[in-house]
Symmetry: C2
């Protein structure tokens, strides 16, 4: 299929900090690029730098940030690109708002128990959050609303990155996204 | 040429309010879509609603807004899309910053003498600006820095929309963008 017939869509990863959204989204994007698709990953930090400088981590500011990511994913996906969001996106209502706006939307819940994340704590953020040094930290001092009906769940505590990536690609093939 | 080989680029329209950026960009986008290309127009008002709510019209806020448009044009154009900006973008330095970032950048100056625009005043904005009812109005109470070396100048006071659109398409063909 040539890209001018290719269907753009959005892969919306959601999950706690450290659950593996970025790693998994990169693995998936490599497979997709290998199939000749245009893929853009909207990473939480990069978007904050470029679209949301000055916004903080209050509910309102988080919502604004996630809406902006949704808008850009909308523009990309309706132009044949596979747009990937890899931000935490803790609130269900804004994810659902983006789902509705974008239409071609596949939600992937990167699920990992919080005690595993606290134990791993690759970036040392959970330790700081538990010590009260980081405020509004999702899962510790700020809510995370799990998706009720995500298209895919990646269990990052029990699956390897390769296993989760394969599951996602298989889903996309079976549902005619690819 | 199929779209997966198609080169994305950015058409950056700049000019005073009412000069005809939106009208001309729409005419050009129709020709490009007719050739099977993916095209996205980033209109000033729509972007302010979706990416820059809360920003005003100070130099700093305008710069932030135009940088955000540039970022989105960058994401689109590097994924094979023709990204069109149709915002006033009054400051040269930010246009040049976007040119540098995006790379595949064609600047189109939609030029019309200010007295013609004031006389036409389709939206009644110039009258209000001259009466001091709108502050920071580009060309009246806020600067507009003309491009020094735009790739294309569309003289909207003497050319028809069709003539300007044809000139742009011809330029894009001659310079192998199409």
């Amino acid at each position: 299929m040539s890209a001018d017939q290719a269907k753009g869509f959005c892969l919306w990863f959601t999950g706690l900090s450290g659950a593996g959204k970025s790693t998994l989204s990169k693995a998936v994007s490599e497979v997709l690029r290998g199939r000749g698709r245009n893929v853009e990953i909207l990473d939480g930090d990069e978007v904050r730098e470029n679209l949301s400088k000055g916004l903080g981590f209050s509910r309102e500011d988080r919502d604004t940030n996630i809406r902006r990511i949704g808008y850009v994913c909308h523009l990309l996906s309706r132009n044949g690109v596979i747009a990937i969001s890899a931000a935490i996106s803790p609130y269900r209502s804004i994810r659902d708002e983006n789902r509705k706006r974008i239409g071609n939307f596949v939600e992937i819940f990167v699920k990992c128990p919080i005690d595993v994340l606290v134990h791993r704590d690759v970036k040392g953020l959970y330790k700081k959050a538990l010590a009260g040094e980081i405020k509004n930290f999702t899962g510790i001092s700020d809510p995370y609303e799990e998706p009720l009906e995500p298209e895919i769940i990646a269990h990052s505590d029990t699956e390897t990155v390769e296993q989760s990536a394969s599951k996602i690609i298989k889903y996309l093939e079976e549902h005619k996204w690819l």
